[in-house]
Amino acid sequence: MGFWVTTLIFLLAGVVGSLFSLLCCNRGPSTNLFHLTLVITATVCCWMMWAIVYLAQLKPLINPILSGE
């Protein structure tokens, strides 16, 4: 689906997650910032993992050689 499209999807998911945490557990500015940090950290971690695995398969130097069983 393309690198940038999926990155955009992750970004949107992060935004949705943040809004959700603000809406459902609104408990003062410092707590909100804390929840926001957690959501953003989680989104960034998940995106990094996906992006690294995706980029590694973009222009591979090795091909899968079947084992023939």
Binding site: M49, N63, I65
Partner: protein, 806 residues
């Protein structure tokens, strides 16, 4: 207020859990009559950590030592009750707190009464029980011997008795001989020895008849069941009798009178049976009485227990307060969070009102340079993560708390090492069970392992959720890949697929959209590809986390107005390993065949050489030279400015202050100031010491940059181990047993697979990945910014006291 270093960060908006709550040293002066109530209310509140103002006094010299002894006595009585209750198998019911709050004095009296009553009842019961056992034994003897006599009322016995009589008459014809008899029970093990010794002692002039008793009888002395033999001895003469009696006592054989006459025997049997049933009824009544006492205790036991513990805690605390000179009021000092000020004042006010005291308590904040305890307000979710961080070291007062990011990065790194969404689902189910039965399990007493798992249930929940995510990315479901997100990107070169096993497949469609392509699993070039992928993944994640650590040190530096040492650190780390990460990404994006090892090593060895086919982007040589220079410059930048800055700060602070403070000479109020004057200003500033300190830090950082980055490769190693183990179990157990087409072998294979998966993968691998993720956090992440030499806020709170003593 006391703060460290100099400042309050106005840099960034405040965030929960990022820094310790602001703490203040408070002094409370309480009039003596409301002291007990005040401490009790403060204990309910649980937000004040009392300082011990009577450190030099021994426990016996303290004011309230007598009260503590009283509480100790009451606690002992309660323990006695608990023991009795558990012996009678009555459990203390956790009742609702009934409105009747007992005074501690009344409770003491009541406990004393109950103890006396209970001891008495127990003693009586014991006596009755012993008598009962004796009677039962007597009954057994009577019946057995009666039976024996009935059976063998034969010539045998009469002849032996006649022989005995004749012998006696022969030895001493003048005496009037009459045969005496003794009967009783002797333990079976000792029966043979008993017989032998009797024979020897009486020189054979006795007749012993033993008969084993079938079921075991309870011995009245020891109270235990033992298998015994019933015996009857016929003897003649007083001396023989005394010898036999002594021997019986030595062997623990209980003697019971056995009448010769048959009629009398039957009568005695009747009597004894009657007495037994009577006694049994009496014993039952006694036991019922005791049970009723214990039941009445059990319904209030928890309450009393709590009350006594509270009282003891209150008196311990009162002992920590110092008595004012006039002996009319107590002075307390302690740490409390700033936000709790109004609550504490409120509690003190209530205590004044409730104790009908004329004078109110005084609450004031003291200024001090002592380091305050660290207090994080956590809820049930974040407390487990905070404990993980605290296990390494409690945060210094108001330094940045790694716990904030640990909540996400710790489960994430665990998941990178664990990645399998099948296993993730198993762990998720297990932890959901713990979370759903949270309330019920929290009130139970769990054993150590279950307790740890229950305490960490939210950590395990996060770990399982991230594991499912990374499992989907690694495309492993119990090591089996699935085409969940579209078709694989690879296909054969030509329709016949002739060279699939020699040359391999080629990429015909766009990259597999989410995760590792399913075609890789089981192929021959799987390991080279995945190893390369996972190693580079580890480096990238590692560099990212270390950069986060350095950014946290920036937050600390800004907050405490320290030297900004984070800039040279960032430059050094990124010019080497940040550059490496960049090269990795460029190589992936361009598909170049450059050898990154070669590039990095020759960047140092011969930076001016031409790169040739290792060139990844134009101008690379120049960029590498610049980065190398930046790295070289940043090392002295890390080393030199900070000590110089500290020296300048110190000189600024102590300009003109050449003399130390004079000690105040009058008592009471200034006595207290002395406490604070010790840990005070005039520290020595040794430039050489600070310089060496900074040198060590610099060397640690520079060398650590390489070793820490390499340490992150454990993410690759454990992930490889997990997927290989999982694949072996799947292929060599499950698939193999499926191949036999036999239902029995299949079932056996499935069971082995189940146990292997649970034992090795779900338990051992989880612990292993947990441990390594922990190490990565404690060492590689936290050594960039964390000092961790604070102490934890331990308030006087009844909730924690009652919990800890159980």
């Amino acid at each position: 207020m006391s703060r460290g270093g100099g400042g309050g960060g106005g840099c960034c908006p405040s965030m929960d859990l990022m820094r310790s709550e602001a703490m203040q040293l408070v002094q409370v002066i309480i009039p003596a009559e409301s002291a007990h109530l005040a401490v009790s209310y403060l204990g309910d509140l649980g937000l004040l950590q009392f300082k011990d103002l009577n450190v030099d006094k021994s426990p016996f010299q303290r004011t309230y030592a007598a009260q503590i002894k009283r509480c100790g006595e009451m606690a002992r009585k309660l323990r006695f009750f608990k023991e009795q209750m558990s012996k009678a198998s009555i459990s203390a019911t956790s009742t609702q707190f009934s409105g009747s709050s007992l005074e501690i004095d009344d409770l003491e009296v009541k406990l004393g009464e109950l103890e006396v009553e209970l001891t008495e009842v127990n003693a009586n019961n014991e006596k009755l029980q012993r008598t009962y056992n004796e009677l039962v034994e007597y009954n057994v003897v009577l019946q057995k011997l009666n039976e024996v006599q009935q059976n063998n009322r034969g010539k045998c016995q009469q002849i032996s008795l006649a022989i005995l009589l004749w012998r006696e008459m022969v030895t001493d014809p003048s005496k009037q001989v009459k045969l005496g008899s003794l009967s009783g029970l002797v333990p079976k093990e000792k029966a043979m020895a008993f017989e032998r010794i009797l024979f020897r002692a009486t020189r054979g002039n006795m007749f012993l008849r033993q008969e084993p008793v079938d079921e075991a009888v309870t011995d009245p002395q020891s109270g235990e069941k033992a298998s015994k033999n019933a015996f009857v001895i016929f003897y003649s003469g007083e001396r023989a009798k005394s010898k036999i009696v002594k021997i019986c006592d030595a062997f623990g054989a209980n003697r019971y009178p056995f009448p010769d006459d048959l009629g009398k025997q039957l009568q005695t049997i009747q009597e004894v049976s009657g007495k037994i049933s009577e006694l049994k009824a009496t014993i039952e009544i006694g036991l019922a009485h005791r049970d009723s006492i214990l039941k009445s205790i059990s319904s209030e036991f928890e309450q009393w227990n709590t009350l006594v513990k509270k009282e003891k805690a209150i008196y311990h605390t009162l002992n920590m307060l110092s008595l004012d000179v006039t002996k009319k009021c107590l002075v307390a000092e302690g740490w409390s969070p700033v936000f709790a000020t109004s609550q504490i004042q409120d509690a003190l006010q209530r205590a004044t009102v409730d104790s009908k005291s004329q004078v109110g308590s005084i609450f004031q904040v003291l200024n001090t340079q002592e380091p305050p305890p660290t207090f994080f307000q956590t809820n049930k979710f974040s407390s487990a993560f905070q404990e993980i961080v605290d296990a390494y070291g409690i945060a210094k007062y108001q330094e940045a708390n790694p716990g904030v990011f640990t909540i996400v990065t710790f489960p994430f790194l665990f998941a990178v090492m664990f990645g399998d969404w099948g296993h993730g689902i198993c762990i998720l189910l297990a932890t959901l069970y713990l979370i759903i039965r949270e309330k019920k399990l929290a009130s139970q007493k769990l054993d150590d392992i279950m307790d740890m798992m229950f305490g960490g249930r939210y950590v395990i929940l996060m770990m399982s959720l991230f594991s499912i995510y990374t499992g989907l990315i690694y495309n492993e479901f119990f090591s089996v890949p699935f085409e969940l997100f579209g078709k694989s990107a690879y296909a054969c070169r030509d329709p016949s697929c002739g060279d699939a096993t020699t040359e391999g497949l080629i990429k015909v469609r766009p990259t597999y959209p989410f995760g590792v392509d399913p075609v890789w699993h089981g192929s021959r070039s799987e390991l080279p590809f995945l190893n390369s992928l996972k190693m580079k993944l580890s480096i990238l994640l590692g560099v990212a986390q270390m950069n986060l650590g350095i950014v946290m040190s920036y937050f600390n530096a800004r907050f405490f107005r320290n030297a900004l040492n984070f800039i040279p650190q960032l430059i050094f780390l990124n010019s080497l390993f940040g550059y490496l990460s960049l090269l990795i990404i460029i190589k992936w994006c361009t598909g170049s065949k450059a050898d990154l090892y070669h590039v990095m090593i020759y960047m140092f060895l011969s930076p001016t050489d031409d790169l040739g086919e290792n060139q990844l982007f134009p101008g690379q040589k120049l960029v590498q030279l610049v980065l190398l220079l930046l790295a070289l410059v940043s090392v002295p930048w890390m080393l030199i400015p900070k000590p110089l800055l500290l020296k300048k700060q110190h000189e600024q602070r102590h300009q003109g202050q050449q003399y130390t403070m004079l000690q105040a000479t009058d008592e009471s109020v200034t006595e207290l100031e002395e406490h604070h004057a010790d840990s005070h200003d005039h520290e020595e500033f040794e430039f050489s010491e600070v310089f060496v300190h900074q040198l060590i830090h610099t060397i640690e950082f520079v060398l650590g940059a390489v070793s820490n980055t390499a340490s992150y490769l454990r993410l690759w190693a454990l992930s490889l181990a997990h997927s290989e183990l999982s694949s072996v179990f799947y292929e060599k157990v499950l698939v193999l047993s499926w191949g036999y087409n036999n239902i029995v072998i299949l079932i056996i294979g499935a069971i082995i697979f189940l146990f292997a998966t649970i034992g090795v993968l779900l338990v051992m691998e989880t612990l292993s990945a947990f441990l390594h993720a922990l190490r990565l956090h404690w060492v590689e992440f936290q050594n960039k910014f964390y000092e961790g030499d604070g102490y934890k806020f331990a308030p006087f709170a009844f909730a924690s006291i009652i919990e800890e003593e159980d």
